[in-house]
């Protein structure tokens, strides 16, 4: 698709105005999931399995129901039967059927007149379990003798003879890999592992649900995508989606983890059983960590061939990923295409298996699959660069994908900015700072596809010449500001005259969630189209008033102008004048755009990190950090930088601290923030950013989407920097102090 209105010298795009929701958020007025209440509201609590794998023999709620103020208990027996496929998986995860499949799996829910009473009642619900053998590690889950935790999970893709826990198999590639390895000067092969991590949004899942005996309901919920919540909740409850109206709250972070349901249908089921009284359900932090989407854990074999000049002749990967006790949740389908997406290599072979294990149902986490793949491939590239004494940026420039390259996963790249990020990283002052003792530098590149998706946007012109935009993608990190900027730029009016609202499921057609780095790209693109529709109508109104053809009117600077020699002389008619008269010139003026957005542009990034490792303790300190990433066009640069910095911080956490720790009993050992330690302010330096702008031809203002790529390079970059500082290569994340210390000792022999 041609970039249809490439402009230079934008008036508003690229500026940094205050975000419209800023005032509410610094004063405590912004309403998040748990902040919403209704008259007569009940509070719910969930009973969860303490076992990694157990048969549910009996549930006795009589003692709970005998408490004054306890209004309803829901178990799986209250949900409809006959669901199949992913709907059944969602229902199985919302409430266990005959078996609990992981520590924290919901077994029953109770609603009462206060939250404390609901928690008391939950403790009185007696569940009899028959404990079954379990497995939680990805490699152990497909080893001979591992218990098959669910029968029949393998889909058509799984070859004969694989373990019963293998749910999916993928392979693709191109070129002659064996010939490529034969042509290399060195061929190296290693296995890399990453542990599961959690998105770690600070706001726990929360909702208020209300449903009457007519089966119609409403829900107020923190989510990245309320149409998904509506469809999934309706499926689990066996009702039509049209009977549910879902309103998103402000959202306290999601990172992919709030694109699906975990407990939301329970609020509706409890409400219906409690005579239609609204029910609030708020997770605790330990419930969030035990029972909501962590990312997959991964075990990955990588083999690369390289010539002495740094040319990569062939590559091969075999990834094993577990995404919990449900098939389809591990991101093998993303990890494989991301593995070599930064490279243009003549021969590649990709293989992966998905394995199920007794862990919570995984959800998307920022560039799902890409960080693990990058850890494996970029770590090995770095190892070979160090062995051959080659500059890691030069090697990436030599082998890097560029405009017109056929990507490692098939499609041809249109216009991409990988090499621009590498050049900028090479030229950045950070790359030339001398390193001291026990210090090391790591470099890695990363990739995310970005996404378009189903999108529906409306725009209404106000009587005062303002514009109200209705979008369906919840705003996690400033997208109302960026969409407001694009609409204001298009209409030629001040940013302050555009109000962007995230509206409920009844107000627009279906919207996919804020996922895939798509909100500013897709909702923004649709909002620009909606604004253009409104402009066309405003030009028609002006033309009618002037008695000329609409084609003889042009729109600029927020007003209709007569265009061309035959249009006559008329003073410009502003959006305010047109808006004030629209009731008598044909009625309200609005614009709509509904589309499955195409024209997505991938975003590449390159990171450079310097660390210092304490040889006595193995503790790693990040000294400085540089993110260089292609934004296409940075609509609101401050929030683009924010995405880069936030992605880097999450990646640093994954590299250094964060991991799901399961005991031999299959229980999660660290379900609190004290033990699941995400980076705190004193762990990090300032995070330097360079925004590269190689405009995406598929977006009216060149937007690519910036949310996800930034979490990808930190995993290998940090591990490579530690290798530079210590001579010890960590191939299993996280690079926790004991592991680094042991690696240092091993490297010294």
């Amino acid at each position: 698709m041609a970039r249809d209105d490439v402009k230079t010298g934008y008036k508003l795009i690229g500026t940094r105005p205050n975000r419209p929701d800023g005032l509410d958020k610094v004063t405590g007025r912004a309403r998040y999931g748990a902040d919403f209440s209704l008259p007569g509201m009940l509070h719910a609590a969930v009973v969860r399995s303490p076992h990694a794998h157990a048969r549910i023999v009996k549930i006795d709620a009589s003692k709970a129901l005998a408490l004054d103020g306890v209004k309803a208990v829901v178990t799986r027996a209250d949900l409809p039967t006959g669901l199949t496929g992913e709907d059944l998986n969602l229902q199985d995860n919302t409430l266990a059927g005959d078996r609990a499949l992981y520590d924290g799996h919901a077994v029953a829910a109770v609603a009462a007149t206060s939250a404390l009473l609901a928690q008391d009642a939950a403790r009185l619900i007696e569940v009899t379990y028959e404990v079954l053998p379990h497995v939680t590690d990805v490699d152990a889950a497909m080893a001979p003798g591992a218990p098959v935790i669910r029968e029949g999970v393998a889909d058509y893709s799984v070859p004969e003879g694989m373990h019963g826990n293998v749910a999916r198999y993928m392979e693709f590639g191109h070129g002659d890999v064996e010939a490529g390895f034969a042509a290399a000067d060195i061929v190296r092969e290693h296995t890399y592992k990453t542990e599961a991590t959690h998105q770690g949004y600070i706001e726990p899942h929360a909702c208020v649900g209300q449903m009457g005996e007519d089966g119609r309901g409403e829900m107020w919920v923190c989510t990245q995508g309320h149409w998904y919540i509506r469809r999934m909740s309706a499926a689990v409850l066996g009702i039509d989606a049209a009977n549910l109206r879902v309103t998103p709250s402000e959202i306290g972070g999601g990172f992919g983890g709030k694109t699906t349901i975990f407990m939301e249908p329970l609020s509706l089921a409890l409400s219906r059983k409690a005579g239609g009284r609204p029910v609030k359900l708020v997770m605790s932090r330990s419930e969030v960590l035990r029972a909501t989407g962590p990312t997959a854990s991964a075990s990955m074999d990588v083999k690369l061939g390289m010539k002495k000049d740094g040319t990569i002749t062939a590559g091969q990967v075999y990834f094993r990923m577990q995404g919990g006790a449900f098939p389809g949740m591990s991101p093998i389908g993303e990890a494989l295409p991301c593995a070599f997406a930064c490279y243009d290599i003549a021969a590649l072979k990709h293989e992966a298996v998905e394995v199920i294990a007794n862990r919570p149902k995984a959800a998307a986490y920022r560039a799902p699959g890409s960080p693990m793949a990058a850890f494996a491939v970029e770590s090995l590239v770095d190892e070979m660069c160090r062995e051959l004494k080659l500059d890691p940026i030069e090697v990436r420039l030599k082998n890097g994908a560029t405009n017109g390259s056929k990507s490692s996963y098939g499609p041809v790249y249109n216009v991409i900015g990988l090499k621009e990020t590498l050049e900028a990283a090479k030229d950045h002052p950070n790359y030339a700072i001398p390193l001291g003792p026990n210090q090391g530098r790591g470099v890695a590149s990363g990739f995310w596809f970005n996404h378009g998706g189903e999108t529906s946007v409306s725009l209404a012109v106000g009587e005062d010449g303002t514009a109200t935009v209705m979008i369906g993608t919840p705003d996690i990190g400033g997208s109302r500001a960026s969409i407001g900027l694009m609409v204001a730029e298009t209409l030629g009016i001040p940013y302050e005259d555009v109000r962007v609202n995230v509206v409920e499921t009844g107000a627009l057609g279906v919207n996919e969630p804020t996922h895939g780095s798509r909100a500013t790209f897709a909702s923004g693109k649709a909002a620009v189209e909606a604004a253009r529709q409104a402009i066309a109508e405003m030009c028609r109104r002006a033309a009618a008033d002037w008695g000329i053809d609409a084609e003889a009117v042009e729109w600029k600077d927020g007003a209709a102008h007569p265009a061309g020699p035959n249009a006559g002389k008329h003073p410009p008619m502003t959006i305010g004048e047109i808006g004030s008269k629209m009731g008598s010139t044909g009625g309200p003026i609005s614009g709509h755009h509904e589309v499955t957005a195409e024209g997505v542009g991938a975003s590449f990034g390159t990171h450079v990190v310097d660390v210092e490792v304490d040889p006595e303790t193995g503790r790693t300190t990040v000294l400085r950090y540089l993110v260089v990433q292609d934004a296409g066009t940075a609509i609101h640069p401050a929030y683009v930088e924010g995405q880069y910095q936030g992605g880097a911080a999450q990646g640093i956490g994954w590299a250094l601290n964060e991991e799901y720790v399961y005991g031999a009993d299959g229980r999660l050992q660290n379900p609190v923030f004290l033990d699941y330690r995400i980076p705190v302010a004193s762990d990090l330096p300032m995070i330097d950013t360079v925004i590269i702008e190689v405009p995406n031809p598929g977006h009216p203002y060149g937007v690519r989407g910036v949310g996800e790529t930034g979490i990808t390079p930190p995993l290998p970059a940090v591990a490579s920097a530690i290798a530079g500082a210590t001579g010890a290569r960590i191939r299993s994340l996280p690079c926790s102090p004991p592991k680094v210390l042991a690696a240092i000792k091993a490297a010294k022999g």
Binding site: S114, G252, A648, V672, V680
Partner: protein, 162 residues
């Protein structure tokens, strides 16, 4: 279990309510007094989203019982702006120091408590003071800059007033 009559001052206003003996100050603020600006992120004192001050001391309101607030002076995010925004609030907006905004009330309350004790902190001092306030969105960079910019402005105003 009988409830406890609690009389306290919140953001300068006298309030009284009946607290369950197990009820946290956080839950009382949010559910009894409708002051939902104070957030729960963990309930175990690890994330700082529930930060308030009690008689001037910065506390995690999830770790304090509501009954313990009896006779005390509680300040929350809702009391931070007077006729106009506190400089920290304004600088957080200007510096884009929030993304989802969920940790923001707690961080603002904590940063205000810091600047009252130390009007000219180093970056490291700001980072260690805020180490108990988790933010998952920003990587802290813009938060540190916003706090330092607000501190500089407040020092300037203080000198101007002196």
């Amino acid at each position: 279990m009988s409830k406890i009559h609690v009389t306290t001052t919140v953001n300068g206003d006298p309030v009284e309510f009946l607290a369950d003996p197990r009820e946290t100050l956080l839950d009382a603020l949010r559910n009894q007094l409708d002051l939902t600006g104070t957030k729960e992120g963990c309930g175990t004192g690890d994330c700082g989203a529930c930060s308030v001050t009690v008689d001037g001391t910065l506390v995690c309101s999830c770790l304090m019982l509501a009954a313990e607030a009896n006779g005390k002076r509680v300040e929350t995010i809702e009391g931070m702006a007077k006729e106009e925004l506190h400089p920290l609030q304004r600088k957080f907006i200007e510096h884009a120091a929030l993304q989802c905004g969920y940790c923001t009330p707690g961080i603002l309350v904590a940063a205000k408590a810091l600047l009252e004790r130390n009007p000219d902190p180093t970056d490291t001092e700001v980072r260690y003071w805020l180490a108990g306030n988790l933010c998952r969105c920003t990587g802290y960079d813009k938060i540190i800059r916003a706090v330092q910019d607000a501190a500089a402005e407040m020092r300037q105003d203080h000198r101007g007033a002196a």
